[in-house]
Subunit: 493 residues, 2 copies
Amino acid sequence: MFEAAELGHEVDDESYERREAELREKLLAAQVELLQRKEFELVVVVDGLDFAGRSETVNKLHEWLDPRQIETRAFDEPTDVEREKPRMWRYWNALPPKGKLGIIFGGWYSDPLDGRFARELDEDAMDALLADAVKFERMLAHEGALVLKFWFHMPEHRQRKRLKKLEKDPLTRWRVSDVERDHLKHYGRYTRTAEHLIRETDSAEAPWSIVEGSDDNFRNLTVGEQLLTALRARLDAKKTPPTAETVELNTPIDGVEVLDKLDLTRTLDKKDYERDLLIWQGRLHEVLRSHHFKKRHALVAVFEGNDAAGKGGAIRRVTQALDARQYEIVPIAAPTDEERAHPYLWRFWRRLPRRGELTVFDRSWYGRVLVERVEEFTARQDWLRAYGEINDFEEQLSSHGVITVKFWLAVSQDEQLARFKERESTPWKNFKITDEDWRNREKWGAYAAAVNDMVERTSSDVAPWTLVEAEDKRYARVKVLRTLVEAVERRLE
Amino acid sequence: MFEAAELGHEVDDESYERREAELREKLLAAQVELLQRKEFELVVVVDGLDFAGRSETVNKLHEWLDPRQIETRAFDEPTDVEREKPRMWRYWNALPPKGKLGIIFGGWYSDPLDGRFARELDEDAMDALLADAVKFERMLAHEGALVLKFWFHMPEHRQRKRLKKLEKDPLTRWRVSDVERDHLKHYGRYTRTAEHLIRETDSAEAPWSIVEGSDDNFRNLTVGEQLLTALRARLDAKKTPPTAETVELNTPIDGVEVLDKLDLTRTLDKKDYERDLLIWQGRLHEVLRSHHFKKRHALVAVFEGNDAAGKGGAIRRVTQALDARQYEIVPIAAPTDEERAHPYLWRFWRRLPRRGELTVFDRSWYGRVLVERVEEFTARQDWLRAYGEINDFEEQLSSHGVITVKFWLAVSQDEQLARFKERESTPWKNFKITDEDWRNREKWGAYAAAVNDMVERTSSDVAPWTLVEAEDKRYARVKVLRTLVEAVERRLE
């Protein structure tokens, strides 16, 4: 794999200067266009052997381009907040907004590479992390980002020479640590690990490019010209292309959908309700205060449901049980302009709970496959791929100890109508009912189909859906509380 | 001071229920109006004696109001990222956006109170922190926030009884730790410290209210009704009032302003430039890599100047000297909608450098007293108070070890005209020149006066302005580099 990057490529200074002048002008023009159109972002991952010129080339890009529109991120040991969040959280945080160029040093490749080289990971564990990387990049590409990856290579004898030279000069000696010496000592094993990494994560959406690092001129020009070609091609393309594979949704042949199976006649009388509420609120309070939960877990509760199904009231019964310092409620409305400039899951990643805490999402990432699908705010291929992306997101939460519980609160059309009317006639409730609610009501069937698909495709072991019969508010509230308690208790066992 | 809160206030259950029902409805209506108008935010600070009912009352507010529109923050030991930033950084992060209610437990009062009680601070040190609190709250109020503060009090004998009761019950025993026992043991000293704190920080903009905590009914109703009264009054006020004291600006009687004194004929020939550039870039590289800088400091470089004065080119010469991983450039354009929903300095707080790093602001918080003043985007009393707020902000940076260096790049009107024309005629530069630039040019005098006032009022020991003669780009670039190097070296001495 690295043969072509060991040929001793060189570019003489004269040719370099000529090509650099032209490249620079074109790069700058492309960057200005990227910024002015703000249609997509450019994500460049740089990785490779030590001293193969990664940072020199990145510095050169900063020199050629307008550095004010570049966001460059390197990653040290995770901070304590980063450690509390799923592994990918800090990479989500590092994504540039549309219109900018983000340069990522190592990024999501550091853990698999370093971990495997240090033999902390076996090959399967490494491959699992690489599969995460592929999914993440595919998501980025489908969300419109242009993703490019550069691996800087260098033959062993040249690296040995460079290391010696750095060690001799007192001004550069600090750059060589035991880590680099160890990599060089096991050059064969290190490059084989890298080769495996590149093979597993090279994709049409986010291709790797291997660059020979020995000659500065050659290396910088190569990266600059490849970057220009890719960016130019994308800017000149008729429309932003990468469409996801189209999935066919299975409509049940008998027309029976999950919501049809709910028994909306279930009720709870007032006395039982008051007793049950206290019991389950008490247990929720207790389990969320347990040492084990506080140290290892966090809770995400997602509330979706028909308009006027009683989400607000149910959420209130949950938070009543808790101290205000332990939870946060995130009402999902239209995204802010910063949120709009990032992949759609970004706004949810930024609101994840800290360890030992609860975040309630009042509406959630499922808007993608509900309102955005029904109202056609999002193209078909984009909401279709959301199912997989959401499953992947929730799996990442789960494997980090975050317990995800999802509720769909269902009422009948008649009950909804009655509640709409009651809201309209109660002065301090009528802000809760808008023309939009009435319009949504007309699309009852389309929403039901969307819910059916959503439940079928995203109810998983790690984050199952709970359908809540919400015709009777008391019954619904107790079911919500009980489900939360049982989900947490099960996970703590 | 606490006499009125030791009278054994009580409200019987019957009156409570009647008043609660009415209060709740009115509170909810006011909250809805707050949210819909999004004109200001409500910041409520709660503090007080242990077990005097702070968290119970906050939980009650969550129950009465729509908890989805409340952001409640408590503060543990600072995280490692928080420790890297000035003390107030995490409180800035905790501010609610306009339209919401933010509840702050302790917040900026915890350090002075706990520190003084533990005798880690002497009285002067405590007072300095309290003065910071007053300034911060005044800024919030002037930016439009409604700030209310509640101190929960309880007489000693009642607190003693409550502590015993909590300790006896196995379900609540965990709430009593040595901290609370210690506070009670030194009840007199603790309340005297609190009394001092309240006296020093009670202000018209952010008044304290002392609430007797012994009786739940009395305590909750008191807080709820005071909150309603204040919120209602603000919502019903004709216009958002609190205007800052009006300062008279001193126009120099001889009409000579700071920019007039600049000698714009200074130049540097190419050979000297190339030599000096290398020297100062090398020194900048070196000093920012020094152990001492990396451990204790960070650098903020502010670039302001006439249009086409060469800010971009100067910034590029600075970053050329550095590794891309060590700096970030923040170009200041129109604020995002999240930024607009917060006090104007919020957007700059969120972009402060980490320890050992450099943040370059290409335009900055000085926009408030430059473009916003000249174009009348901001009311006179608001940009007038900005001078003090900015000085305060930069002092906070400085006392945390952040070195702030500020540049005004000045060119003559003739030179600007020549550069505008050159930009217009160079294809890959003409995106840099807009109608706005031409319009700004017509207001040359107004900008000069604004610069004069800005320099006079915000050039301080901790963050002096450097006026840069930028008629000759080479001279300007070297002066910028040299100033940066010398500022850092001076601080490291």
